[in-house]
């Protein structure tokens, strides 16, 4: 089992979601993430004549836990759907997951990740 964490552009969220659905990801969680970095803002902020810089960069953070067999196609789907080619497209991190349980019936292991009853 692997955990994929992807930080993507907010504007690419819908495309990534649809791409993930196509490769068979039934469920994933996401958060509104805010980063601080060196990216130049497009619209300059000014209030009552004073220019200011929030330097907050809004992004979406997706967390998906997949079986090892599905890892590559999931990552590929995100890589393809989230790309614009401009600095700031985001990152994907993959890490090992030790164990997984389904709370409803205490099922554990790979089968707890997908619905085998269907």
């Amino acid at each position: 089992m692997k955990k994929i964490e992807a930080i993507i552009r907010t504007s690419k969220f819908i495309e990534v979601r649809d791409a993930l659905r196509e490769v068979g990801i039934d469920f994933f969680s996401y958060w509104d993430a805010t980063g601080v970095g060196n990216e130049i803002e497009k619209g300059e902020h000014s209030y009552r004549g004073t220019v200011y810089d929030t330097s907050f960069i809004p992004r979406q953070l997706l967390t998906i836990v997949v079986r090892d067999v599905n890892l590559q196609k999931t990552v590929d789907a995100i890589l393809k759907a989230a790309k614009t080619g401009i600095v700031g497209d985001g990152k994907i991190f993959v890490s090992e997951i030790q164990e997984s349980y389904r709370i409803r019936n205490s099922e554990k292991g790979d089968t707890s990740l997908y619905n085998s009853e269907k």
């Binding site: 000014s46 004549g49 004073t50 200011y52």
Partner: protein, 514 residues
């Protein structure tokens, strides 16, 4: 059950329609025949004597005046909502409850102080309420005699509205109270986000009971600024139709003194003195408040005729409208192309209000073109003064109250001395002839009277405000502790957040002073 309700309903319908059948007066769907000679109060219905007709006409005239006075008074009351929305919209979410509370509490505090002593001081010697039926119980003005002239200082009739049961005086009280509340709520904007509520509450009583009424007496209550004309031949004395000086300059000066003494908000200025932006948390709220104020202002200015039968209020309303549009237009363009790069929305709001403040004194005395000129100039004044106050004087005024109410209140009064076109105001303040300014061949007299009026305001209200703020500062303190200010005043001062249950990024709301 249902059928009984239906039955009762049917019975009521039958009963009410049958009463029409037996009525002597036929229904009048277009209104043309409603109101006839038989509606004139008379001993013999339908055959009134000439005296009875005269009485009815006089009664109707005063009734029209009274309806106008009260309706416009209610409009001015609604401006409290405008002030609350503007000030809260231009400040941060963590202080929303506190800013709103100040704007609400100034109404009961100021009103009760005005009831206890403010009204008596301001209007206790105003004389006859001519347009409201001639009530003459307000007839004691304390004055001193110097150089053979009488200087009215304050009135003394009507403490706790004692003996004031006339319909005229109670309506008049309502109208004047809501004006006073407008003045008292101006400093809450300039001192928002750091003013201790206890200190503010006491301030509310003092401004409504003493500071505002004393200056108001000098201008509107028959005091010495009003009689500059009859005493010294300076035009019609200090003329202020609806309160550029009495209401707005007073509020602006108090805002200036208070904001200077309380100091800037944490994070407003860097070590080198350059300002940081502290954006308001709800600009749509501020825009709504601005438009509520502009709506109420039609009552503020037009109602100041104190008479619905004085048709000059149509000119007043027009001038009010055109000046506010001029102010908003120039303030926007000024920010867009001269002072900044964007048509700043907060300054657009300030510009609209600046035009309104500036036209408040001269609204009844100027031509439409004059009103437009006054408004256009006010738009430039508001931006330049806002920058001057923020960048040169280093006074932190979150909502621009000093630039809007102070600077333009002053400009409005001076503009009256320049632009008054000599078509209105015959007999005003006991001086024959219409009010005429410098540009219309009236000489410098009216301008000098206005100049004395605003200078007096700056000195008197400035000093009185300084003393009050200083006393509050050394006794209970004006400013909340720094940790309270950083966390937001809502919980510490008021007990609960303005936006309970909503997650606020309080850290990002205060810029770092570099």
């Amino acid at each position: 059950m249902k059928k009984y309700i239906l039955l009762i309903f049917l019975m009521l319908t039958t009963a009410s329609s049958s009463s029409y059948i037996y009525a002597t007066k036929t229904a009048d769907p277009n209104g043309a025949t409603t109101g006839t000679i038989s509606d004139v109060t008379a001993k013999t219905v339908g055959k009134p004597t000439i005296d009875e007709i005269g009485t009815q006409v006089g009664h109707n005239k005063i009734a029209i005046n009274m309806v106008w006075l009260l309706l416009t008074g209610f409009l001015v009351f609604f401006m409290q909502a405008g002030f609350a929305l503007v000030e809260t919209g231009f400040t941060r979410a963590k202080n929303a409850s506190h800013t709103m509370a100040m704007n609400l509490f100034v109404y009961p505090a100021g009103m009760l102080a005005f009831y206890a002593c403010g009204f008596a001081i301001m209007f206790g010697g105003v004389g006859t309420l001519g347009t409201l039926g001639g009530f003459d119980g307000l007839n004691q003005e304390v004055s001193i005699s110097l150089f053979g002239h009488t200087f009215g200082l304050f009135g003394t009739k009507g403490f706790f509205m004692n003996g004031m049961t006339d319909v005229a005086v109670l309506g008049f009280f309502l109208f004047q109270t809501v004006f006073m509340d407008a003045a008292a709520t101006i400093p809450t904007g300039a001192m928002a986000e750091r003013w201790k509520f206890a200190s503010f509450a006491i301030f509310g009583f003092i401004v409504g009971g003493l500071i505002y009424p004393i200056y108001g007496n000098w201008v509107w209550g028959g005091g010495w600024l009003a009689t500059l004309g009859s005493n010294f031949g300076l035009g019609h004395g200090h003329v202020d139709f609806a309160g550029s000086s009495v209401v707005h300059l007073t509020g602006g000066v108090l805002a200036f003194v208070g904001a200077k003494m309380i100091g800037p908000r944490i994070g407003k200025y860097n070590r080198d003195g350059s300002p940081n932006a502290i954006p308001g948390h709800n600009i749509p709220m501020a825009v709504l408040g601005t438009l509520v104020l502009a709506f109420g202002w039609f009552g503020f200015n037009s109602g100041s005729t104190l008479a619905g039968t004085d048709l000059r209020f149509s000119v007043v309303a027009f001038n009010t409208m055109i000046a506010s549009c001029g102010g908003a237009l120039i303030a926007t363009l000024w920010m867009w192309f001269i002072r900044g790069k964007k048509p700043d929305l907060s300054m657009m709001c300030n510009g609209l209000l600046a035009g309104l403040v500036a036209i408040t004194a001269p609204c009844a005395f100027v031509s439409p073109a004059g009103a437009l000129a006054i408004g256009l100039i006010s738009g430039a004044i508001v931006v330049e003064v806002a920058f001057f106050v923020e960048r040169k004087l280093k006074i932190d005024d979150p909502v621009g109250a000093i630039a809007v109410h102070g600077a333009n209140g002053l400009w409005g009064c001076l503009a009256l001395g320049l632009f008054a076109d000599g078509t209105y105001g015959d007999g005003l303040n006991g001086v024959a002839g219409a009010v005429t300014g410098l540009f219309y061949g009236g000489g410098a007299g009216q301008f000098i009277a206005e100049f004395i009026g605003v200078s007096t305001n700056l000195i008197f209200v400035g000093l009185a405000g300084w003393v009050v703020f200083k006393l509050l500062d050394v006794t209970i303190g004006n400013r909340v502790p720094a940790d309270v200010e950083l966390a937001g005043l809502d919980v510490h001062e008021m007990g609960a957040e303005g936006y309970s249950g909503i997650k606020l990024d309080k850290n990002s709301e205060t810029p770092l002073s570099r």
